[in-house]
């Protein structure tokens, strides 16, 4: 019987998160309880993605991992709890509130701070650093405030032209400020790229409107009349007017705590640790940027995560050691690809450099090879880093074929197809090797990328390795003879997307023709609804027309939602959630007359439960007569467009969200799709309609609308991603028309938009290219298809009510058409009825038989 060991983690950054997550994942017996003491007033967040704060807009979007980690009884997260002292003898740390936290093992994960060179005026208002959410939030407030005061674009300057400096310049541009990057070195990103790469990068960045001054030292920041940052003065003469200044001049380890505790320090700071991340005090580890490992502090997330995993492994009795830092990096700065890996500066004796530069296209690529030009040592890619995912893991391996093939634009020549060695690291964020990915396929039975991601964590952090993961998984499956089948079912050997094109091109319009031409047998409950849906999407004919009724899934079959006892729920359309009082009263009357259980749906409409098959036509007659129509709550089709009340009533609304929601709902109503589709429209950035949880979310801005796509509630919640910004009403319709049509045509059976756009070749960027820039030349076709859909829409229920033949399908029994199902039984609960449970039926609880309900005609 061992007691629970108390682990105290000082610091609440990304590495602290990884440590805690890994420990809880691996410590199945609950041997360790973790207390995380964070200085910032929030849970660990993705600092690498800090700049997305300006586009993602919400600090929560940056949260790391599953929030449930912090609810684990063995995990305690203390926010705003900077640690001030460590008492190594008593094994206790004291936080800034004077609270003591005893430990059995202490983990220092204090990270770094933004270092500012001693410069006159560095403390003036309007001078910022770029390290925490609070930093960027303060920067944003200042810039927005100054822009209003000045009535012109704010002039920004970033001191430092490294990775962080370019991020900051991008952030300034996002905020509508101009930006100048002042770099002390002779080129941008001098730590990652060589002279040629630096120049290519500078040209690309200048094209985007950023001014670059290299070989320039800032001597002072001079105040304006109000005492705010107003002017940069450069060494050797020259000045520049500024309104805001960001220092991005590097980071230094936060090692003061360790220093005060008397632990050994590295030459240039940092707590000295061995390859197991232990300090000289065996009860203290240090991980991440504060650790001086193998002689240096490393300011990258991948080695930090590796150290966290090692510290956990050691606590659990493992024997892993630090393999050395992979300093490879691939970034998208201001939309420009930059990657650097391995021996990028060709320091290996005899190393050869193979360079390809196209100044017009703005591309610079360099491979560093051994003296025999066979083995890859490293490289630099600027402007086009598409080869990065394949090349980085090849470092130390023979490239095979002509290495020049890797430098030419993708597709120009066949790239040599080389198998990665098993120990090659594919995902450096999570330290997953090619071998581990192969093993997930061969031993763990994973058959797709999603499975491998879940199993190995590969590609779950930055995602840059996903193309390679996909390739390895594909190759491995092929080798094991496993065919990745997207086939719809045993009758149709095609994916839904393939079947869609086949049906479209062939022009066939009946199930029997289609199954005869493209499938086998009589079909089944998988392929029939798929074909029914494709035909509905293509021709928008009635779902119960001709031989269609027998194809439709449960709910489409009778245009209502089947509930557990075989009765249905009825949901008329309430576009945008706006409802006339007369309609509300009618719904209440119908519910009372038929004894229907009544509930408000999540999509801002009203659901009436417990209607029997034979009651549906008379219920719908009353609804249709009063001007209501089918809500398609039963279909794999557009469900609702949820909206907030918008500018018509709301004090904060900036656009008419209800008006747009109604227009969108009426535009796309009845559109059949691979899965249900939900939209949302918010009238301001407060986002009360929760539009980013929808397949398509539209959020008002001062200048129009932002469109987000691929959001999802349900089992796998996702926030929708930004597709386009600040577009007008016409563009909202045009872009959503195309996005939805592309989805409807190319998604798999029951695949919602989030996984569809993730798996779409090239991801969201490629989709944006198709729907905004018409990169495939199909937009006219998509537009025409949607126009046809809109023109040919008719209310399915109104049409059925006019057709005695179809109405016959709503008989309870073919030999007793009005007789209610005698097996139905209900009990009363909270003033309404619900289906009786088995024990209530058996135990003689009060039952309401359906036949006893009086129905007013």
């Amino acid at each position: 019987m061992t007691e629970t060991q108390r682990i105290v983690v000082v610091g609440g950054g990304m590495v602290a998160h990884r440590f805690t997550e890994a420990l809880r994942a691996r410590d199945a017996d609950g041997r360790f309880a973790v207390t995380v003491l964070a200085e910032e007033p929030r849970a660990p967040y993705d600092r690498v993605a800090l700049t997305t704060y300006f586009t993602g807009r919400h600090p929560e979007d940056l949260e790391l991992g599953d929030r449930a980690l912090w609810d684990d009884p063995l995990v305690c997260l203390e926010r705003d709890a900077r640690v001030d002292t460590v008492d190594r003898d008593a094994k206790v740390v004291t936080d800034r509130h004077g609270r003591e936290h005893p430990y059995d093992h202490l983990v220092l994960a204090t990270g770094s701070y933004a270092w500012t060179p001693p410069t006159e005026g560095a403390h003036l208002p309007g001078v910022f650093v770029y390290r925490t959410i609070d930093d960027v939030a303060a920067l944003r407030t200042y810039v927005e405030h100054r822009a209003q005061e000045l009535g012109r674009p704010v002039r920004g300057a970033v001191i430092g032209g490294g990775l962080l400096g370019l991020e900051a310049a991008g952030a300034l541009q996002e905020l509508g400020a101009t930006s100048t990057v002042v770099q002390f070195s002779d080129r941008l990103m001098n730590l990652q790229v060589d002279e040629g790469g630096g120049h290519a990068l500078q040209r690309l960045i200048e094209r985007l409107g950023v001014t670059v001054r290299c070989s320039t030292k800032t001597q002072a920041i001079k105040p304006d009349r109000a005492g705010r940052a107003g002017r940069l003065v450069f060494e050797g003469g020259g000045e520049q007017r500024v309104d805001v200044v960001i220092f991005a001049t590097g980071v230094r380890p936060r090692d003061e705590l360790a220093r005060a505790a008397g632990l050994a320090m590295g030459e240039r700071g940092g707590v000295v640790v061995d390859d197991t991340c232990l300090t000289e005090d065996l009860a203290i580890s240090a991980i991440g940027e504060v650790a001086c490992i193998q002689g240096a502090c490393i300011g990258l997330i991948a080695p930090g995560n590796a150290m966290a995993e090692i510290a956990v492994d050691r606590l659990l009795g493992g024997d892993s050691t630090f393999p050395g830092a992979d300093t490879a990096a691939k970034l998208k700065l201001l939309g420009v690809d930059v990657a650097s890996f391995g021996d990028a500066f060709a320091t290996t004796p005899g190393a050869l450099e193979l360079v390809y530069a196209d100044p017009v296209a703005g591309v610079y690529k360099k491979l560093v090879l051994t003296d025999d030009a066979r083995t890859l040592l490293g490289g630099i890619l600027v402007g086009d880093a598409s080869a990065y995912a394949s090349l980085r893991p090849m470092v130390g391996s023979e490239l095979g074929g002509d290495p020049g093939g890797w430098l030419l634009p993708e597709g120009a020549v066949e790239r040599p197809n080389v198998e990665l060695p098993d120990d090659a690291s594919v995902c450096s964020c999570n330290n997953v090797s090619a071998g581990a990915i192969r093993c997930a396929v061969t031993d763990e039975g994973c058959t797709d990328v999603a499975g491998v991601k879940a199993c190995t964590k590969a590609g779950t952090s930055c995602g840059s390795c996903l193309p390679l993961v996909k390739k390895i998984v594909g190759a491995e499956l092929e080798k094991s003879g496993i065919e990745i089948s997207n086939a719809v079912c045993e009758h149709v050997d095609m994916s839904r997307a393939q079947l869609f094109s086949a049906v479209q091109v062939s022009g066939l319009r009946t199930f029997s023709e289609i199954i005869e031409r493209f499938g086998t047998g009589r079909g089944c409950d998988l392929c029939k609804p798929v074909i029914g849906s494709i035909l509905a999407t293509l021709y928008n004919e009635h779902v119960l027309a001709a031989d269609r009724a027998a194809l439709q899934d449960t709910n489409d079959r009778v245009m209502a939602n089947m509930q557990k006892d075989g009765t249905y729920s009825v949901v008329p359309r309430v576009p945008g959630g706006e409802i006339l009082p007369e309609h509300l009263i009618l719904l209440g009357e119908i519910a009372k007359d038929y004894g229907l259980y009544t509930k408000i749906t999540g999509g801002q409409r009203i659901d009436l439960f417990g209607a029997r098959l034979e009651q549906l036509p008379s219920i719908w007659k009353r609804l249709v007569d009063a001007g209501m129509e089918s809500g398609h709550a039963y279909g794999k089709s557009l469900r609702t467009v949820k909206s907030c009340v918008g500018s018509a009533w709301c004090r904060y609304g900036v656009q008419d969200s209800v008006g747009l929601a109604i227009a969108l709902e009426l535009r796309y109503r009845g559109l059949r799709s691979p899965h249900k589709i939900k939209l949302g429209v918010s009238g301001c950035a407060r986002e009360c309609a929760e539009a980013r949880g929808k397949d398509v979310g539209v959020i008002a801005t001062d200048n129009g609308w932002n469109i987000y796509v691929g959001g999802n509630g349900g089992f796998t919640p996702r926030h929708a991603q930004l597709l386009v910004e600040d577009v007008d009403d016409d563009a909202v319709f045009r872009i959503i028309d195309r996005y939805l049509m592309l989805y409807v045509r190319t998604a798999d059976r029951l695949q919602r938009t989030a996984p569809w756009q993730e798996e779409y070749e090239g991801g969201l960027d490629a989709i944006r290219d198709v729907v905004v820039n018409d990169s495939l030349g199909i937009c006219d076709d998509l537009d025409a298809h949607m126009a046809r859909h809109i023109d040919s829409y008719e209310d399915e229920w109104a049409a059925v009510l006019k057709d005695p033949e179809r109405l016959r399908q709503f008989s309870s029994f073919v030999n007793a058409p009005e007789e209610p199902d005698p097996s139905l039984a209900y009990v009363e609960e909270r003033g309404q009825r619900r289906p009786a449970t088995d024990s209530e039926r058996g135990g003689g609880a009060v039952l309401i038989a359906p036949a006893t309900l009086e129905v007013r005609s």
Binding site: R522, G523, C524, K528, A550, Q809, F813, N815, D821, S823
Partner: protein
């Protein structure tokens, strides 16, 4: 049995039909059955699901789905599994043979307490354009 198309003649239950004509109950005109679109019938207190398939054959099974307890089988989708004509439950999508009622796919669920996974099959005959069910199949 003039002009009748006798169905699934290979099954034992179909054979039994002919021997026990007294329990035959007339249901409806065969023309009332749309191919592949099931109907429910109330036969002497029993709920029966009846299907006319595209090949003209007519099949009848219990209408209560063993996995949900709801009388819904008539509203399922017909099809085939490896050539065997099938019906899928509309609630949790279990697939049953229309020939002998065997549950071919349980979808990882167990039937409701007290119910067998397989469906009871009722012998059907079509006589002079009239569909008959033989309740002797229901023990």
């Amino acid at each position: 049995m003039t002009g009748a198309s006798v169905n699934h003649p290979t099954t034992a239950s179909a054979g039994r039909t002919r021997g026990s004509a007294t329990t035959r109950v007339p249901i409806c005109d065969v023309d009332r059955l749309t191919p592949d679109l099931g109907v429910a019938a109330l036969v002497d207190g029993h709920q029966v699901a009846i299907f006319r398939l595209a090949d003209g054959s007519v099949h009848a099974v219990q209408n209560v789905c063993p996995f949900s307890g709801a009388a819904v089988m008539s509203r399922g989708i017909t099809g085939d599994r490896g050539g065997v004509p099938t019906i899928a439950s509309p609630l949790y999508k279990q697939v049953f043979s229309l020939v002998d009622g065997t549950c071919l796919a349980t979808m990882d669920k167990a039937p409701r307490p007290g119910r067998a996974a397989d469906l009871v099959v009722y012998p059907v005959t079509v006589d002079n354009g009239q569909v008959y069910i033989d309740l002797a199949g229901d023990e």
